[in-house]
Subunit: 198 residues, 2 copies
DNA sequence: CCGATTCTGCACTGTTCGATCCAAAACCAT
DNA sequence: ATGGTTTTGGATCGAACAGTGCAGAATCGG
């Protein structure tokens, strides 16, 4: 063994993730990353090999964290299934409002990355696709549960409704980045629920 | 008068717009723009002053074109109002499927720009906001019409439903960029309509 | 305390970036 | 044709980019 790291890898990843989240991949330079982490470029490259790899690590961590939070909420048996969906949407709205800067939400790193990179980076596209599949599966499970409870009255199949919810969530995120205020975002969320409980 | 342009300004703007649309603002270099337009950098700068200005011109043209297409459709009195909304969503799905490359949609330049630039470029944010207001107004008008016809049965106010539709459209666009196929996009569109006609 | 190993700071690489300069070519009105 | 004006291509600018090499500092097992 030899000289140990002076930084915590996960803490650095969180900081880096935030920078990419706020400004996107292309607009964030390795210098920017040094500035926000307080590390030198050597240390960064020594630990993460390249800007692209660092981004992939940060994206993976983001997806992991967010998916865990969502799963925890969606699998909470103490609430009816439809109520869990309502709370999920409410939390997304809350997050967008809370993280807003200059009246604009931050959006979601996976949505932002889908828009910026999925079309020209196959590896990123693959990561996003796996994450999407997991999220859709989680949503579908809750929707089926809600249907058994009698709360989800829409005749559409659960996969379609899951797709719909996922699209609405992306739409809420983009709307927040476009400057929509809390009331507008809540209206979108409430209307989306109407489609499930019609 | 003196030597005239050898290129058509609008044709160049269309080509440039397409490049920005496909790869984003940051990832498109002025060299790339020269390549796709066949022009030299001098000509580009002489006609459009800067990369940023060129982008703004291309974005304005995109928003103008798209808004005109949408307005034409939404104001078509030969169809019931709700039917017009259905056709609008169908066209968006069609476009995403038609313009797809490697199984991924192109998305929408205004959505892409909202995600990439709205948070850190106030002038772009202003442009997008004006465009959004116009689109929301158009949607609201059709929704109110549909309500008078008795087809829009949702009790939510028209502004909220317009916000909802706009968010769903963005969600469809992002989903297409994420690799969703035609069936998935159509499911999202159909489910969204359920919320208006519940 | 020492030797092996790893990390860190700084200088530096070559490349590409957006943007500019200038001379030559092209055009129009007269 | 000629003069005035604009466009065009090519060279070039300084700055910023992602990434590297290296010397020395730091830390471990022994």
């Amino acid at each position: 063994m030899a000289r140990p790291r002076t930084f915590d890898e996960d803490r650095v990843l969180d900081t880096v993730m935030r920078a990419f989240w706020e400004n996107g991949y292309e607009a964030t330079s390795t210098r920017d990353l040094c500035e926000v982490t307080g590390l030198d470029r050597s240390s960064l490259y020594n630990a993460f090999t390249s800007k692209g790899e660092l981004f992939r690590r940060a994206l993976a961590r983001y997806a992991e964290t967010m998916n865990a939070r969502q799963a925890e909420l969606l699998e909470d048996r103490s609430r009816p299934a439809v109520e869990r969906i309502r709370v999920l949407l409410a939390r997304i709205v809350d997050d967008e409002v809370a993280l807003a800067r200059d009246g604009r939400g931050l959006g979601c790193l996976t949505v932002n990355t889908t828009v910026e990179l999925a079309g020209r980076d196959p590896e990123i596209a693959r990561m996003l696709e796996r994450d999407l599949d997991r999220r859709l599966a989680g949503l579908r499970a809750v929707i089926e549960e809600g249907r058994r409870d009698g709360d989800v009255t829409s005749p559409r199949d659960a996969a379609a409704l899951a797709r719909f919810l996922n699209a609405v969530i992306a739409g809420i995120r983009v709307s927040a980045q476009g400057g929509a205020d809390r009331a507008a975002l809540e209206a979108v969320a409430a209307t989306a629920l109407d489609a499930l409980t019609r």
